[in-house]
Amino acid sequence: MQGSTRRMGVMTDVHRRFLQLLMTHGVLEEWDVKRLQKHCYKVHDRNATVEKLEDFINNINSVLESLYIEIKKGVTEDDGRPIYALVNLATTSISKMASDFAENELDLFRKALELIIDSETGFASSTNILNLVDQLKGKKMRKKEAEHVLQKFVQNKWLIEKEGEFTLHGRAILEMEQYIRETYPDAVKVCNICHSLLIQGQSCDTCGIRMHLPCVAKYFQSNSEPHCPHCNDYWPHEIPEVFDPEKERDAGISKSSKKSSRSRQH
């Protein structure tokens, strides 16, 4: 705090309550975040104007900087929803003492992560993950227990499960992007458009470049003949629709996705 050149923001109870709420949930969608921000203002400071979300979050981030914690904004890979997650940025002696998961559970997550990164589609089948259970560090884990642990990861929004296969939740991508880039530099896939880490996406058959689904949607928006930006070959995949929060709200209170083929994952 003494050496920082940037003026550190000031947190009031509004910010603190918001931070605690975000800490409880881990990751939230943008509409939820806005709603909670309004709620925090209502509880503590009724008459104040609600600060713009971006400034609000930057304020909190400037205070959290010294603790290597940050509220990161990202986009879900399957349908482009904006999300906010509270992530840890550094490995310290204190962070190593985290007790959410046991050593063998963390190792399972690491192995699942590796399988997901190495896979072609960004999904690792549960059988493949479970087959690695024998090689885990720490206390021996049975396959039934491992299933349980994987479900725990899904509940805590670190993994997404779809038809027996697992992929990384947006929260995990936001938190682990740096780690993944450093640990798996040869296997990591990157989106051609936004240049950030890619787990799920579409790829060109000829030249092999990849793009996130929401990036594809934005790039080929209202383009009837999509062509690969790299090799100019015809883009063979279905172009998804750009995520529109207005349309989403109009679809109704129940947040079943407007596309029936996409399953809602969080």
Binding site: M23, T24, N88, T91, S95, K96, K143, G164, Q178
Partner: protein, 371 residues
């Protein structure tokens, strides 16, 4: 008595090695029932340190030396017995003494006091000390239970209420011990308690994260193929991987039946093409390309035979052959149930299979794959 005391002091003044027989407490003059007048010199030698005996000999210990010698063994034994009995009783009734507001502890102490009057030797004294420790422990517990504040918290009753809250009515005399309950009950117990307890306690949520909690560096990765084939070839287990609990064992049964039916169809097609020619068993089941398929075929054919659609017997060369059984034959009192059950066991090792393929010159499987 006074004379003897005086003589003892006299011994000290003469500079003799003072001797004392007591271990700890200072014994006031005791009156033994069978007191005998003895010479002071016959006192026993102390077991304790010399310094200790020095102190005790300085006139503080009013020991009646007559008691130290020839105390009645019988009496001492009975004193010890009574002490042990007292200790045992107090231990057995420990809960009673501590939890109830009775005078039992006081009574026990008074009893010990009476016993103590008769004690003259270290053995009994040691037992008395042991009892004293026990009694003081109980006294301490009773004192702890003294409540100076208005509200009264009974831990035992609270535990019972907890059990009732969770729904484990283990007190209701069905004789179940706590150890009979299994893990699930324990888990659900804590979950229920937690649900209720958290609503009464204000607690800030802690920060959950995964990055940074890995303890050690991951091992060096094997170099990966750079360019993967884009066209996604269907892998071996490319079918939707099922979760463990979705394993539908029933589907295996249907698969077997389907296979058996299919092979039966193949067999019957053969028999229709070449009527009245039984097929060599080995030629039928052996798959020259796959040992495991061969074993599966044998398995399925055994069902066919069991169900009576085909017959296996040895031909002139003592080689097994498969013969058809016509459906009308089945109806003509040749029903399988009337036949006495015959069983055969076929064992086939990898080497056997290879030998058969070579001997019979089987080049392709008669039972083709379904996929």
């Amino acid at each position: 008595m006074a004379d003897e005391k005086g003589s003892l002091r006299g011994d000290v003044e003469e500079g003799e090695e003072p001797v004392v027989a007591v271990t700890g407490s200072a014994y006031p003059g005791k009156q033994a029932e069978e007191e005998e007048e003895e010479e002071p010199m016959k006192v026993e030698v102390a077991v304790g340190a010399d310094a200790c005996s020095d102190d005790l000999s300085c006139g503080e210990a009013d020991i009646d030396p007559s008691l130290l010698e020839l105390a009645d063994e019988e009496k001492c034994r009975s004193i010890r017995k009574q002490y042990r009995q007292l200790i045992y009783n107090v231990q057995q009734n420990r809960d009673d003494i501590v939890n109830t507001a009775s005078d039992s502890l006081t009574e026990a102490l008074e009893e010990a006091n009476v016993l103590f009057d008769a004690v003259s030797r270290t053995r009994e004294a040691a037992l008395d000390a042991q009892f004293l420790v026990l009694a003081s422990d109980l006294g301490k517990e009773k004192a702890k239970q003294l409540n100076s504040d208005m509200s009264f918290f009974n831990q035992v009753a609270f535990c019972d209420f907890l059990f009732i809250f969770v729904g484990l009515n283990w007190m209701e005399g069905d004789g179940r011990e706590l150890s009979d309950y299994d893990d699930n009950v324990a888990l659900s117990f804590w979950e229920t308690v937690q649900k209720e307890a958290t609503s009464w306690m204000l607690q800030a949520e802690k920060f959950h994260f995964i990055f940074g909690s890995f303890k050690s560096e991951p091992s060096a990765r094997k170099p990966r193929l750079e360019h993967r084939k884009k066209v996604h070839k269907m892998e071996e287990n490319g079918d939707m991987p099922t979760k463990l609990r979705k394993l539908d064992l029933n589907s295996n049964q249907e698969a077997t039946e389907k296979e058996v039916e299919r092979i039966l169809g193949l067999l019957q097609t053969y028999f229709r093409k070449y009527p009245d020619t039984p097929v060599s068993y080995f030629e039928f089941v052996i798959d020259p390309n796959s040992f495991s398929r061969t074993v599966e075929n044998i398995f399925y054919v055994s069902f066919i035979i069991r169900d009576g659609f085909a017959r296996i017997r040895l031909d002139q060369d003592r080689l097994p052959i498969l013969e058809p059984i016509n459906i009308n034959q089945v109806g003509e009192g040749n029903d399988p149930s009337s036949h006495c059950r015959k069983q055969g066991v076929i064992s086939l090792s990898l080497q056997d299979w290879k030998n058969i393929v070579a001997t019979f010159e089987i080049s392709e499987a008669m039972i083709t794959n379904s996929y």
